[in-house]
Structures are given as C-alpha cells and as structure tokens.
C-alpha cells in the first residue's frame, strides 16, 4: 500500500516537473526579444518626420512674421505717401460724393 501510494506521488511529481520543464523550455528565456525591422524603420521615419515638421513650422512662422512686417510697412508707406494728385481744369469723367 505504501509503495503503491509512493509510486503514485513520485509519478505525479515527475509529471509536474516534466511539464514545468517543458514550459520553461517553450518560453525560450535565452532568446532575445526580436523587434520587427519594419517597425524599427517606421519609428526612425516618424522621429525624422517630427524633426522635419518642427523645422518647417519654424520656417513658416519666420516667413509669416516677415510677411506681416512687410505688409505693415507697405500699408504705412501707402498711407504716408498718398497718390500723386493735382487740380486741373478738365471736365471730370466721374465725381465723388458721400456714399
């Protein structure tokens, strides 16, 4: 009886050890985590695009600022230098009046 029970325990332990060992081997803990090369390329490309976008935004902001300054200067000079005008004795082609 004792021998029989002992054999059963031994078999159960052996089975448990076997499956545990199987699971450990199946998990391949010695293998390094392999990264998909396409994912790696995409990550590099995304980082590059982020850098380029930042640069483009800076350039656009600089150009917009330049355009604003130029526009304001043009407005100021247009206001400061009115169109040439003189009084003549010709009959008018059109008239201005309160609109």
């Amino acid at each position: 009886m004792t021998n029989h029970a002992g054999r059963l325990y031994a078999l159960a332990i052996a089975l448990a050890v076997f499956f545990l060992a199987w699971a450990v081997v199946a998990a391949r803990p010695w293998a390094t985590t392999a990264v998909d090369p396409r994912q790696k390329t995409l990550a590099i490309r995304a980082a590059q695009l982020r850098r380029e976008a930042k640069l483009v935004n800076q350039i656009v902001a600089q150009r917009a600022q330049l355009a604003r300054v130029t526009h304001n200067r043009q407005l100021a000079s247009a206001a400061a230098a009115p169109a040439p005008v003189k009084i003549v004795t010709l009959p008018p082609l059109t008239i201005t009046r309160t609109s």
């Binding site: 247009a78 009115p82 008018p92 201005t96 009046r97 309160t98 609109s99």
Partner: protein, 277 residues
C-alpha cells in the same frame, strides 16, 4: 476709348471706367466681384459671412472677410479708435437697422450701446467678444472697389467708383470733387459725409457716421470730407477719421500727414488741405 458701365450694388451706384476696347469680359468680372463681395460682407443679408459672424460670435471665414476685418482692426488702431467696425449696434440703435433704401422715414431710437469691443482674428477664425457686432459697410465698399479694379486693370487703365469710394489703376483720371477737378494717376479717393444716408427719429435728424466715443451720430462742423490716399480703403478710413475730427483739427492732421483732402463745412465753406492748392 473709354468703356463705362454702371450698376447697383452694396446699396449704392457703382461705376466702372476702363480705357480699352472690348473690355466686356473684364467689366463682367469686376461687376461679379462686387456682387460676390456684397454677398459675403453685407450686414443686411442673413446668409452673408458677416451676418453669420454677428449672429454666432465666431466664424471660420473665407479670405475676404479675414482681410477686411484685418484692415478694419488696423484702421481702428491707426486712427486711435475714430474708425471702429464695432459701431454696428450703435448704428442699429440710431435706427439704421436695415438697408438704407428700406429705412422708414420716422421711427424710434434706443440708447447707444458702447463700442470698441474685442475682435479676435486668429489663424482661420474670427471671434467676437459677447455683445460685439461688426459693420463693414464703408471699408467693405473700398475693399470691393480695389478688388474690382484689380480685375478691370487686366483690360487696361481703369477707375472704379463705388458710390464715392474710388480705386484707380493706371491712366489719368479727372475726378470731380465739389467745385474742383482732381487728376489722379493711381491710388484711391473717398468721400464721407452726413449729407446723404440721413433719417429722422423722434424729430431729430440722424446720419450714419457714428462717433465711436459717444455711440451717436457725430456732431462736428463738417458736412463732407474727401481724401486722396494710397488706395480706396485707406482713403475711406482717413475720410471718416477726418470727418470725426472737425474742420480745424482735420485740416491740421491732413497738412501734417501731407494727405490731400477737401473739407466742406456745414456753413458751406470748402477748405483744401494736405498739399492741395
């Protein structure tokens, strides 16, 4: 040979003059431009971009409304608030609440609301502070005259007269101002005054030139002001600003800026300033 076309738009008579033969296509394009801009900028059309902005307090507008609002805000700054697009509610309170042709001869007024509220122009969006509404009547006409002149100039030297706001591209154009004739080769000219667009409310005569400082039709000794400037928009802004200044100050300011101006006082005197003589 000068080709001429007249039509009605933006509540006034528009006159197109072009020194070219066979300019029909350009004349058509210029006329359409007025109608297109009126559909965007009129405060009397419920579906215009300006009406939507006034109704909702914000809009993601097209480029024209952005430009006109931008020009109006710059003008407000440049004239220290004498020109102000936020006088909309003051105009309505004074009774100018519909197209001038439909305005009843008599009616009621309400107390004038304050002007000079916040208008925020950011990339692709315009926001108004609560209770702020815009009127772009005068500056819109000047802007439309300039845009139409750009199109008409493709045919030849031209002049666009939008009810007194004149834009010129090339050529030499004699323009009648009061009893004199001014010859212009470029730039713009505009007249602002209280001798037209007048109405009665409560036995009092009112007009459309609101003083943003009081919110009421301005009371100066001037009847009309005509200004020559770099373009029709600047001329329109300067004419309104000088009108609100009164004759003495207006003449001094026009002389200081070298801005040709013709001032007509309410007692009938005509003053030339800004280098005109």
């Amino acid at each position: 040979m000068i080709d001429r076309r007249t039509f009605h738009a933006m509540g006034t008579e528009i006159e197109l003059l072009v020194d070219a033969d066979g300019a029909d296509r350009s004349l058509n394009a210029a006329e359409l431009e007025f109608h297109r801009l009126e559909a965007l900028l009129s405060r009397f059309r419920d579906d215009s971009e300006l009406s939507r902005l006034n109704r909702d307090g914000w809009i993601e507008p097209g480029p024209d409304l952005v430009r006109v609002v931008g020009l109006a805000l710059e003008a407000r700054e440049r004239t220290s608030g004498r020109f102000d697009p936020t006088v909309h509610d003051a105009l309505v309170a004074a009774g100018y609440d519909r197209s001038f042709e439909q305005l009843p001869a008599e009616g009621e007024t309400t107390p004038p609301p304050p002007s000079a509220g916040g208008v925020w122009l950011r990339a692709g969006r315009i926001d108004l502070d609560p209770g702020v509404h815009l009127d772009l009547g005068g500056i819109g006409k000047g802007y439309a005259a300039e845009r139409a002149a750009e199109l008409l100039a493709l045919a030849g030297p031209c002049l666009v007269n939008a009810g007194g706001d004149i834009a010129i591209r090339g050529g030499s154009w004699p323009v009648g101002v009061e009893h004199i004739t001014l010859q212009l080769d470029s730039g713009g000219l505009a007249t602002s005054g209280r001798d037209r667009r007048r109405w009665q409310r409560g036995g009092r005569e009112l007009h459309h030139l609101i003083d943003p400082a009081t919110g009421e039709p301005s009371e100066t000794d001037l009847l009309r002001v005509t200004v020559v400037a770099g373009d029709a928009v600047d001329a329109e802004v300067a004419a309104k600003s000088l009108f609100l200044a009164g004759s003495k100050r207006a003449a001094a300011e026009a002389n200081a800026a070298g801005m040709p101006a013709v001032l007509v006082t309410e007692d009938g005197r005509t003053l030339l300033a800004g280098g005109l003589a």
